[in-house]
């Protein structure tokens, strides 16, 4: 390019400002626009994550399927048959696998995102990129695995004739959206905190393990409400249980893929609960992104 045209172009360009509050992005769309502008890179980072993960392994991508299937079989046989959790639940296989698929997605998002900034330390320290890209790439990689499991879920549901009416299947979208919002919000926050405090990643593992049992994945909603009534606990305990966004998302997934449910299998007003949880999630996403932006100024130093 000719020097004078370069200078003319530069003279016309506005400045990008970096101050104590981080980088202020010029142009339309702000941060989202900036990340959208780097979507090709995001795509490459997701592929790098996936390619590098199973490179040089004999079974390769099959591992994305094997691990959750083994987990599924374990719960299905031990909890479902030996401990007879399956007795009160028709189509237990689909019930279990649909909840598990969504939860594993959430869990992969969070654990992937938490380690993402540290895992890309080499890049974070050396090159300016919108740092949100790294947690987002982890979410993308988790999304790919989720997609593969989802295919299996749909196939299995068709074979076992467990799919509900098509209109019921629309629950899939808000449920997935809810989990995605919370996954992103927590993922961003934890990714940033983990840079400063490495305990976060271990803490996250433990909390995720607990979270799985705190949602109706291997047992039913009815079992929880019965247990609470039986032990004479006040009704708000159930409300607290139902306020968990993962619980709401999992219940939504059951509605979308599992046709054996009765009204007693879901709390009242699931749609309204999902809407409220979604709004809270979006506020949380906004706040955790603000925190991320504040914290990222020193990433290069802390790594």
């Amino acid at each position: 390019m000719d020097t004078s045209t370069r200078f003319a172009r530069l003279a016309a360009e506005p400045f990008t400002v970096v101050d104590a509050r981080g980088l202020r992005v010029r142009g339309r769309g702000g941060k989202i626009g900036e990340i959208f502008g780097r979507r090709e890179l995001l795509n490459l980072l997701v592929r790098r994550d996936l390619q590098a993960r199973y490179r040089d392994s004999f079974l390769g991508f099959l591992w994305t399927v094997i691990r959750p299937l083994i987990q599924f079989l374990m719960y299905f046989i031990v909890l479902g048959q030996f401990l007879q959790a399956a007795r009160g639940i028709d189509q237990f296989a689909i019930y279990l696998f649909s909840g598990l698929t969504l939860f594993v997605f959430f869990s992969d998002m969070i654990s992937g995102a938490t380690g993402s900034i540290i895992g890309n330390a080499g890049l974070v320290k050396k090159i300016y990129l919108p740092r949100e890209i790294f947690p987002l790439a982890s979410v993308g990689a988790a999304g790919f695995m989720f997609f593969v499991q989802l295919l299996i879920l749909v196939l299995a549901a068709i074979v076992l004739q467990a799919l509900p009416q098509p209109v019921e299947m629309l629950w899939f979208f808000p449920s997935l959206g809810l989990i995605l919002v919370y996954g992103l919000a927590l993922g961003l926050l934890l990714a940033a905190l983990n840079v400063y405090l490495r305990d976060i990643q271990y803490l996250t593992e433990v909390v995720l393990m607990l979270a799985m049992w705190a949602s109706p994945i291997v047992y039913s909603w009815q079992m929880v409400s019965d247990a609470i009534t039986r032990s004479g606990l006040p009704a708000w305990v159930l409300e607290v249980y139902a306020a968990n966004p993962i619980t709401i998302g999992v219940l939504g997934f059951h509605r979308a893929f599992w046709n054996a449910g009765t009204p007693a299998d879901y709390p009242e007003g699931l749609g309204m609960r999902m809407l409220i949880a979604g709004i809270v999630g979006l506020v949380l996403l906004f706040l955790s992104h603000r925190a991320f932006v504040r914290l990222q100024g020193n990433f290069a130093q802390e790594l």
Binding site: S4, V17, V18, L41, L44, R55, K126, I127, R198, G297
Partner: protein, 403 residues
């Protein structure tokens, strides 16, 4: 076009300050244990960059210089947006490529080809642009058929060549370079230099952090010297190099710890005297010069020898000799003395030089050397380069002789 006569500013730094808090505790347990009052004793705050205000015009090549820890790399990271300032603002425009480390973002398990796409994308190229440049990048790197091999099997030279090839094909307006040119073999370094020179001609702005005064002198239009996070000089490159050496020299003399060992024979001090016998720190090419070496001894030495050497700042010897080589027998050393070594004509090229001296006892075995005991600057003709001063004339068959 007016834009050509006055290049626009491409980087503006306004009162930029960067503090770092260094924590000694990094786990949750430590944080909780040291929470509150105790916490402050486990933190250390230091200022890496202190109130720097700079404007850089498009098309200039700026060398950032300074001793280790003077904040030059931090300043480069601030300009690159990699760290945010604690106060003040950093304004930049145009497309930026940072060569803070070659091959940052290479994934060892992916092939060269995949890494080229990934790294070029990190540096801001779109897929279509990479497709168009891909063959050029491979040709420039000289990797050839290895492009489809995982980069973990590359030699370090191949790795660096591929990374550099990607970086220089990204069409940046601003190129930030941090010491990376110090890697690779000589041929590769040449290639880097040529590329940077070409970038300058194309009106790109280059901000370079370098320890090599020679590299800065060769490449830059403007030198900025930092000391303890502050700009101490900003302007002409050659003067900047002078200031840098002064800064380094101050640091060096301050850093010399007093040797606790008592040497039987010791060089205590070196002085530089001019032709009139007055202490001098600046000499003209061709002037006479005397190196006065002060020696003390704890016991008498019947026979002893003395040597000196003059080094460039890079540590290359420019001139050296000793009493043995010169065939001089020194008077017996009783307790203390000084010896004058006179050089009739200083035929050294312009620049800074350090003087070392050593004394060796022969009759009674003992020795001591004082490294960089004095420093002087030679000023003179600027039409030749190197450590030797000589007048050069050029004749050719069809051109008239000129100086």
């Amino acid at each position: 076009m007016s834009a050509t006569t006055t290049p626009p500013d491409i980087v503006r730094l306004n009162g930029v300050t960067k503090h770092f808090v260094v924590r000694k505790d990094n786990s949750l347990k430590d944080r909780i244990v040291h929470f509150g009052r105790l916490g402050s004793s486990h933190r250390e705050d230091f200022v890496a960059v202190d109130d720097v205000t700079l404007d850089i015009e498009a098309g200039t090549t700026v060398g950032l210089m300074g001793a280790n820890g003077s904040g030059k790399s931090t300043l480069l990271k601030l300009i690159g947006g990699i760290v945010s300032p604690s106060s003040g603002t950093v304004q930049t425009r145009g497309r930026m490529a940072a060569l803070l480390e070659l091959g940052a973002g290479f994934h060892p398990d992916l092939s060269g080809r995949e890494n080229v796409y990934l790294n070029a994308s990190i540096l801001g190229l779109t897929r279509a642009e990479i497709d168009a440049q891909f063959d050029d990048i491979v040709a420039f790197s000289g990797i050839g058929d290895f492009i489809d091999t995982a980069v973990k099997f590359y030699s370090s030279g191949m790795y660096v060549r591929l990374a550099f090839a990607v970086a220089v094909h990204t069409d940046p307006d601003i190129l930030l370079v941090d010491e990376v040119l110090a890697v690779g073999d000589e041929a590769f370094q040449r290639k880097c230099m040529e590329r940077i020179a070409q970038f300058r001609e194309e009106g790109r702005t280059i901000i370079l952090v370098s320890h090599s005064a020679q590299q800065v002198a060769e490449l830059c239009d403007r030198g900025v010297v930092l000391a303890d996070g502050k700009v101490v000089y900003d302007g002409d490159t050659n003067q900047a190099i002078g200031v840098l050496r002064q800064v380094l020299d101050d640091k060096r003399t301050a850093g010399i710890a007093h040797d606790e060992n008592v040497h039987p024979i010791e060089v205590t001090r070196i002085e530089i005297l001019d032709g009139a016998g007055a202490p001098a720190s600046e000499l003209r090419d061709g002037d006479p010069m005397t190196i006065r070496v002060h020696v003390i001894a704890t016991r008498p030495f019947e026979r002893w020898e003395l040597g000196f050497s003059i080094d460039t700042p890079l540590g290359h010897m420019a001139l050296a000799s000793n009493t043995e080589a010169l065939g001089v027998r020194l008077d017996p050393l009783a307790d203390n003395t000084h010896v004058d070594l006179t050089i009739a004509r200083v035929n050294l090229g312009p620049g800074q030089y350090f003087v070392n001296a050593n004394a060796v006892g022969i009759s009674d075995e003992a020795s001591h050397a004082l490294m960089q005991g004095a420093m002087f600057t030679v000023v003179g003709a600027t039409n030749t380069f190197g450590t030797v001063a000589a007048s050069v004339t050029i004749t050719s068959e069809n051109a008239s002789e000129r100086e």
